[in-house]
Symmetry: C2
Subunit: 339 residues, 2 copies
DNA sequence: CTGTTAGCGCCTTCAA
DNA sequence: TTGAAGGCGCTAACAG
């Protein structure tokens, strides 16, 4: 490992001058700088992160906190893309990404609390939390109280917190407009009470603006049971929709899983897709490419969201006393054959 | 941040004694040790990783190298579980996990080479590479030549390299036995030439052992086109299988995507599943839960593989001149309704 | 068993 | 514009 010392020796300069040249801070003559840089490249110099952190009392690590769902449902593909976005942006600024997985099943008090303590103990330069929900918010407050910059990746504006939010409201609204332009005029929304509020708000907003009828199919609650269960509920729901007095000609489902169930169900009932019924899903999960017909869906801009969150965090790290803000990332319609 | 110094002051001991007590190395009287530990907890002491690394010239970071496929196909769910396994095991030993994503599309020479250089420049304590393939092997050799311990997570034994391999041969073999026990006696394998060798070997081995007929349906090549393409090939292949002179009563597909295509195709041809045809997929991807009927599949033990790889790497870090070895992780049949 | 001494590589302060 | 000195928190040698 070549160090500043090695470069200094070769350049016949003091370690200090070399250090300044490399960091580009303070006065260094153009001549010295050029010489230092050349030798640094020759020797393949790499600043020693440990030494730099130790001395500057700063850490160049960003902790990312994510959650492992019941059947690993919560994360996977969507999360991975966020990681990649975060990683790429951080790497560009010389920061490391340190991933942490909280187990949403274990009681917050024990294992997770210990993990959070460990994370704080590393005193990272900043923290990105993937998710909203009470747990995320309380972690946010906890970390903020320790003077650590935090950013949330959420699904809606979170008051008083810095976040990058994936704009579900806008996503669903756009989908309604898209269907309307395609000539559909009885556009329904299918979901569950309580767990898809911003999506329903987007739907309501759009149908109101367009002067369309509001048709919502909604189970009173969804109480776990895994992904397959949501699919089954979709199959069941398709019966209600197909048999409705005034049958819709399009449905937007709150998730791809539900949409996949709807498609399977409609097939049983002989409702042709997309002719008699357009179906739109939500999230653009892998299975959306495998329904038949392929599922048009409102896709999450995960990579982008990750990048922006990292960007926002880096800003906060540099200027810690900036005011609170929220940045929305638009969702995009991924069009397949179900519409 | 409380440091050893703070503890030393309180305990009226030298910094060094405190250090030894905390690390549990060297001689410390039981009394001193107990006192130190108590105060450390009281003060919420956390060793400063930067200082430790700097002084001991060791890095407590493990780099994990993974690959982003064409349409992000390669990774996602399966990769995520490996990450979690690796992370958990490393964290238990006080190591950090540092994720890196290589873009399989960009030319190895440019972006990836730079990234590899960066990784090596961090001088991590060790490296885990997720994947086999020539690129992985050359990275392995590159890193090994820099004296950095490396472990591969692969799908087969790799000669001369340390790896944890997910035992596809055994997985397929088990699946054949399972089908045979269920009374099937014309068990086919569906895949592509060249890209599923160890799976075919497992199939061949099993049918030979059981004295069954070998029936392989195989496209000559698969030349990209994304996941949907594999699904379509499955649909097409189902025609060949359904129309075969001596029609099989079971098929093992080389991937869940292909199996999903087969199921969709068989439905069109009126081949009832599982009565007339049992179908088994490979990997237990998310979509396996959403075919109808649900797909029985040979599941990857990703979490386990991740844990073992981390374990093996930690061993190598501690004793760098151990001999080469390979550890297999068995695959398990996830049984659903397609068999 | 314990304390002293001497850095690891870098950055900050201050003097030249 | 440059250099010398000091120290971040910790560990490794060695001396008590």
């Amino acid at each position: 490992m070549t160090s500043l010392k090695d470069i200094a020796k070769r350049a016949k300069l003091s370690i200090n001058t070399v250090s300044r040249a490399i960091r580009g801070s303070g006065y260094v003559s153009a001549e010295s700088r050029e010489k230092v840089m050349r030798i640094a490249v020759e020797l393949g110099y790499r600043p020693n992160r440990a030494a730099r952190s130790l001395r500057s009392r700063k850490n160049f690590e960003v902790a990312v906190i994510s959650f492992l769902g019941a059947d690993n449902s919560s994360g996977d593909q969507l999360m991975m893309e966020k990681f990649v976005g975060i990683k790429r942006r951080l790497a560009a600024s010389g920061y490391e990404m340190n991933l942490h997985f909280l187990d949403i099943n274990s009681e917050f008090e024990s294992a997770n609390l210990k993990l959070l303590d460990d994370i704080a103990g590393q005193s990272p330069a900043g923290i990105i939390i993937i998710g909203d929900g009470e747990l995320c918010k309380s972690i946010y407050r906890l970390m903020e109280s320790k003077q650590t910059p935090v950013v949330l990746i959420s699904y809606d504006v979170i008051p008083e917190m810095d976040c990058v939010y994936i704009d579900r409201l806008q996503g669903v609204r756009d989908a309604v407009y898209y269907l309307a332009e395609k000539g559909r005029n009885k556009i329904a929304f299918a979901g569950f009470h309580g767990i898809c509020c911003n999506r329903i708000r987007g739907y309501r907003k759009a149908v109101k603006e367009l002067g369309l009828q509001e048709i919502i199919f909604s189970e009173n609650s969804y109480s776990g049971g895994g992904l397959g269960r949501i699919f089954d509920l979709g199959v069941a729901m398709s019966g209600d929709i197909a048999g409705a007095k005034s049958r819709p000609d399009a449905v937007i489902a709150y998730s791809d899983y539900l949409a996949a169930g709807l498609i399977a169900g409609f097939r049983e009932y002989g409702v042709r897709i997309p002719e008699a019924m357009a179906v739109i899903g939500f999230d653009n999960r892998e299975l959306a490419a495998f329904t038949s017909p392929g599922l048009t869906t409102i896709a999450q801009p995960n990579f982008k969201a990750g990048e922006l969150a990292a960007e926002m965090l880096l800003d906060k790290i540099i200027k810690p006393d900036e005011r609170v803000n929220a940045v929305g990332v638009p969702m995009n319609l991924k069009i397949r054959n179900s519409t």
